[in-house]
């Protein structure tokens, strides 16, 4: 039996036991995991050093090595994340519907764990702990498949967590790490129907594309974000500039940052030159349509391909449009249905935009950067779903649950 199938079976076999844990037992296990990470910081840092050394030998860029790197402070932050998950309300058992039928049949719909969740992710070892914590808190078993560049770190972290869990009521088998670094282990996970209940990919666009294109196990698609801000004719120019700069430059590397700014022609004529100057001060390079380049001569000509690109960088496309309709058409053509914003003082325009634009999150007069489980007050985030089934937008703990109908009667039969 392959490693993937063997570990998935082991995790799946812990599901009934997991399902019987109460909230207190699960929280105790999470706190034990946090304490163990702190106590074993030294050995985790040593394992991490192996990954870093291998990365350097292979010529991994410094920015990637930085994301991979662990130190006492980062480990303390990761452990603190587990403590925060422990403090969140447990969605399992929540009654979503409750009603009695005319024949006396009592029906309840309640939240239950999903079962076994597969997470496929890339280099950052903090995801190992974060994903494990979120899945275990919701009573799910988890099969982790991290990137090979963090394998030593991940292996040590899981070893430490297993030792911690062994002293709790939570079965250590519920947490499994696939160590096989071959691409074939991912391919096998994608087809593990009957063992894996869902796969959540966390990582870059190519990882997610591969998972969506090849998985027969249900997938929750996350991540890709080509987000727009449309500044309408009636927008408050100060507010519009603040929102646009924030959406692009506050943290360009994330999926909810803006890639293309759409400006109403009248607004552009009056305000674009000053706004371009503000972008320059924020180190943002500009690409623009013809009208943009008339108003901002040093902007680079923008292409169709640019409009369809998620830069995740200090680069912005600017397009001047005639009206709201043209802006919404642009968004429908190039957007990824993640987060879209209109800045306007015209409430009818705002209403049309909020209703008609098809995206997980639609904004009026606020930065798209707020699309985030923590910013929404969910206290956690497994990812931001860009698909329409099961969960859409920032996913908190309830997104890691399924439901079940409990029906109690006194002998009812169907006529």
């Amino acid at each position: 039996m392959s490693e993937v199938r063997q570990k998935a079976s082991k995790a799946q076999s812990s599901v009934p036991q997991l399902n019987r844990l109460n909230t207190e037992q699960k929280n105790k296990a999470l706190l034990a995991m946090a304490n163990a990470l702190i106590a074993e910081s030294e050995s985790i840092i040593s394992a991490n050093a192996e990954d870093l050394e291998r990365g350097r030998e292979q010529g991994t860029p410094e920015s990637m090595l930085d994301r991979l790197s662990l130190n006492k402070e980062r480990i303390a932050g990761i452990a603190e994340g587990l403590r925060q998950i422990a403090e969140l309300p447990d969605p399992v058992g929540e009654v979503l519907e409750s009603f009695t039928r005319p024949d006396g049949l009592h029906i309840e719909k309640l939240r239950v764990p999903i079962g076994l969740i597969g997470i496929i992710y890339e280099a950052r070892p903090n995801v190992t702990v974060d994903a494990a914590g979120l899945c275990l808190k919701t009573g799910n078993a988890v099969l982790l498949r991290g990137g090979s560049s963090a394998l030593s770190s991940n292996r040590k972290i899981v070893e430490v967590l297993h030792q911690a869990l062994a002293k709790t009521d939570l079965p250590p088998d519920a947490l499994q790490l696939v160590e096989d670094a071959n691409r074939s282990s991912v391919d096998e996970m994608l087809k593990l129907n009957g063992l894996l209940d869902v796969i959540i990919p966390r990582g870059g666009a190519s990882l997610i594309r591969n998972v969506v294109a090849n998985a027969t196990v249900p997938v929750i698609e996350t991540g890709a974000g080509i987000c727009h801000t449309y500044v309408d004719e009636s927008a408050d120019p100060v507010m519009a500039a603040e929102i646009a700069i924030n959406a692009k430059a506050q943290r360009p590397s994330v999926c909810n940052s803006m890639e293309t700014l759409l400006l109403h022609a009248a607004y552009a004529e009056q305000h674009l030159p000053a706004l371009a100057e503000q972008f320059r001060e924020a180190n943002v390079s500009l690409k623009g349509c013809d009208t943009t380049r008339r108003l901002v001569p040093d902007a680079i000509p923008v292409t169709e391909e640019d409009y369809a690109t998620e830069y995740n960088d200090y680069i912005l496309n600017i397009r001047v449009v005639r009206n709201l309709e043209e802006a919404m058409n642009h968004i429908a053509t190039y957007g990824t249905k993640h987060s879209e914003c209109i800045v306007t003082r015209d409430t009818a325009h705002a209403e049309r935009f909020l209703h008609d634009v098809d995206a997980a999150a639609v904004y009026h007069n606020a930065s798209t950067r707020f699309t985030d489980g923590f910013e929404f007050g969910y206290g956690a985030e497994i990812g931001i779903s860009t698909q329409k089934l099961h969960a859409r937008g920032p996913m908190g703990l309830p997104a890691l649950t399924s439901t079940k109908y409990r029906i109690t009667g006194n002998g009812q039969i169907r006529q």
Copy 2:
């Protein structure tokens, strides 16, 4: 461009217009569809006669031809189904969460249509109308791919519905029928990511297996039901017999009927011979384990394969178990997580069964035959989901919706 892609694109292009319809406009369209079916009964029956004739020539069994056959009364029933859908509350626009963040950002989570739904189904032409009605009521476009044996009927029905819709605000393009009877048209639908938002298969086990194993478009899996009833030691014998007979014999052809009866040993010793007699009177053939055969000598020996079979027929497996634990282990091994029942007077046993058994619907003292959207009071049913994501159990109209976050601010930016 293939027929499938062309019709999917056409349906997808109607999505923005559909999305702007209010409940009244959608209901008017549904009523116009119902009236047109009645008015055009004759031509639909003629088209249906072609299907029936072709079926007879190909030697289709009479029971299949009966399911395929339409007459005035059946068409009136189908039209009445549309009127009932029109009367149901519209889930679109329902606000599921609404809260204001400390910085004043107001966030609402509301129900929106999914977009374009693909339905792949078999011979019964009533599904054409039913699926169209449910999808359009929830503001979704729909791409139908019915079985080739009902092609003439389906084509005429869709033609009639298109003519009816042309006189309403609902764009006729929102309803598309794939006429290509080759298997390749199904295969193409399964990979139509980016155009199709979800596929719902409606039909037999092999249809569903093919869809689940090959689709990269998200699927809502429906249907397969190997359901059990466990009669505990303390069960009321009259109630237990009524529930067991009902679960097996009231309508054996459907997914929520029982395939295997599990009996506590003490109950079996006292009551099985009389119960077997009742099953015989209901025309049910019995297969049994060794203990069953000692008590019911004419029962056929049951095999492992029998336990894993969905008979959908007047055949029942009976297995005698030592206790609740053994019953739950049997269910975990052979069940399809559809509907499972315990009959008992022991509330602790009932509680354990309801909590520990992993299924869409778990019953205490009632027949599994109640797992049904109409019986649950949902007024409609797209199918019974046996998967854990998005929807589980009977799916009413809300299962055909997604959600969207609407965020309104007054200039909030992220720090």
